[in-house]
């Protein structure tokens, strides 16, 4: 890809690949990304060595999502199974939302297998919180608050999970634009019209597919492309960075589609370099 050849004037950071830990730690704690071979610590993945007190581990960059309890994630329903919904999160296994989850049951008098599709159907985009790990390694998701649930009137973008920072909050309501932005820790990002995170328990009115006004649509597309550009360049995504990129495209009067061209990529890179060191 042409863009990977861009060079940024950044300060040197130390990187190590498959290097054995030199210091003899009193009780070396083996973190992930390492394994012990003949009393020496060897790296098993390609990444950045991190040392925290006595813990040494290798943090990979590009990899599937590594869930932590409490993460807010955005996923797509791939199957409506007998008592649960199967959700794709870009994790090593599929995840599940249980029908018998307290939060699902609370508001409806009875959710049964027949009307599961009224809550979440196949291909729906949902926002949920990581609950716990099942014993077979799969993930259980919870729809705890009003903010969780089906997502409407917008678009879903997928980026590498390592580019999304785990900082709260992850739901952003950009009032000036009337846009909701959800940065899922799993790298799935939702940009859409405000107020269309539907509580799964309220009555499902499918007829309500009103038109998205052009201006809102333009904003959604512009933010979407900003996220795409940041992902192409490998820059961490926070609300701040995304909105700055969005504003940059507006002030320079760049056509929405041209945002994906070389010139804008260079501009964003220069802007980012300025932002970090300026």
């Amino acid at each position: 890809m042409v863009m990977r050849k861009l060079e940024l004037p950044l300060s040197q950071t130390q990187k190590v690949r498959f290097q054995t830990a030199i210091e003899r730690l009193q009780s070396p704690a083996e973190g992930h990304g390492t394994s012990e071979v003949d009393d020496e610590l060897l790296a098993t993945v390609c990444g950045v060595v991190v040392r925290v007190d006595k813990l040494v581990y290798v943090r990979t960059l590009r990899a599937r999502y590594k869930p932590q309890v409490g993460d807010i994630v955005v996923g797509r329903v791939i199957e409506v199974a007998q008592t649960r919904w199967r959700v794709d999160l870009n994790f090593t296994q599929d995840s599940f939302i249980n029908m018998h989850d307290d939060n699902v049951q609370k508001r409806r008098t009875s959710v049964d297998e027949l009307n599961m599709r009224n809550i979440f159907a196949e291909d729906d985009v949902v926002c949920a919180e990581v609950g716990e790990f099942h014993k077979d390694g799969s993930l259980i998701l919870r729809v705890r608050s009003q903010k969780h649930g089906k997502l409407d009137k917008g678009q879903l973008l997928k980026v590498d999970p390592y580019l999304v920072k785990r900082i709260k909050p992850q739901f952003h309501y950009i009032e000036s634009l009337g846009i909701d932005l959800i940065l899922g820790c799993n790298g799935f990002i939702w940009v859409g019209e405000h107020g269309h995170v539907r509580d799964p328990m309220t009555k499902n009115t499918r007829k309500e597919q009103s038109h998205t006004p052009l201006e809102t649509r333009q904003t959604i597309c512009r933010i979407g492309n900003a996220i795409q550009v940041l992902s192409n360049l490998g820059f961490t995504m926070t609300l701040e960075v995304i909105m700055e990129t969005f504003k940059l495209s507006n002030t320079r009067n760049i056509d929405i589609h041209d945002m994906l061209g070389s010139e804008f990529h260079v501009l964003v890179t220069e802007n980012e370099a300025e932002r970090r060191h300026g």
Binding site: D123, Q155, L214, C221, L260
Partner: protein, 287 residues
């Protein structure tokens, strides 16, 4: 392959209706096209074309053969397409076969004209060496490495570029030969002839979503289509071939409208491709 929720589908269709697709393009805008030629050195001609996330390679190999008895004054061309599982895990094993055959057939239809060879985008008479005895067999192979919609247009562009890159060796044929004998042929190692691609068409696929048509659909948009019409148009604005895909029926007036829209779009695409191809060839010459 790409599942979209009802509301996402509505969003995509709404965007197309408002002439603002999810990536900001207008309905008839193509994504940026990148062309590289000479990527397969052992072929007579080759090219790699990238349109957005779609990445394809086409190669042209020329072998000596006999013309068919039905058309002794024409050479032969065969098109084969392969969808690599690197593009989609579902293409693994025999998964990609159906799509590959569909694409190959559509390309043959667009480039090679009817059974008599008349009106072919590729002029088959240029491939004959000695009428009735010796001709060139061109094998055009396409490989899809990465797929994000609009495979047919990308393959058409790659084949056009590969043909532009094709150099066919000059052949000397012994003239005096009896009717039932094969003449001796001497394939030159030094002298080559560039293949004439002025007549080779470009393929424009228009995908109908709702009541509008879009050019260069992404995989997401293709999943929402009701039908698609692929039209191959050459430099003179003539239509060389036409294929319709998709279950939905189309009103004849709609098809005629799509054809005229395609002709209009093909001009821009043709110019863009030609300039990309010349740039790529120049690049290759330098290296």
């Amino acid at each position: 392959m790409v599942g979209l929720s009802i509301s996402e589908q509505h969003f995509v269709k709404g965007g197309i209706a408002q002439d603002l697709r999810t990536d900001g393009r207008k309905r008839l805008t193509y994504r940026p096209i990148y062309v590289e030629t000479g990527v397969i050195p052992q072929a007579n001609g080759s090219a790699r074309v990238r349109i957005g996330g779609t990445d394809v390679i086409a190669s042209v190999k020329a072998e000596i053969g006999r013309p068919s008895s039905l058309q002794p004054d024409k050479g032969k061309v065969a098109v084969f397409i392969d969808c690599s599982p690197t593009a989609e895990p579902t293409f693994g094993g025999r998964g990609g076969e159906e799509l590959s055959s569909e694409l190959a057939l559509a390309l043959q239809r667009c480039l090679l004209g009817g059974k008599s060879g008349a009106g072919a985008g590729i002029n088959l008479s240029l491939l004959v060496i000695k009428e009735g005895k010796v001709c060139w067999d061109l094998y055009i192979d396409g490989l899809v490495i990465s797929s994000d919609g609009n495979l047919l247009d990308a393959l058409g562009a790659a084949i056009k570029a590969a043909l532009a890159n094709t150099a066919i060796p000059k052949v000397n044929v012994s003239t005096e030969v009896a009717d039932n004998e094969q003449p001796e042929i001497d394939i030159s190692d030094e002298e080559y002839q560039q293949f004439d691609t002025s007549g080779v068409p470009v393929i424009v696929t228009l995908t109908k979503v709702g009541t509008h048509y879009i050019a260069d659909a992404t995989a997401e948009e293709e999943s929402q289509m009701s039908s698609a019409v692929s039209i191959s148009v050459n430099r003179s604005g003539h239509i060389c071939g036409l294929t319709k895909r998709g279950g939905s029926g189309l009103d004849p007036s709609v098809i005629l409208d799509m054809i005229s829209v395609a002709k209009h779009v093909s001009e821009t695409l043709m110019n863009k491709l030609d300039s990309e191809i010349s740039a790529a060839e120049a690049c290759e010459d330098e290296s």
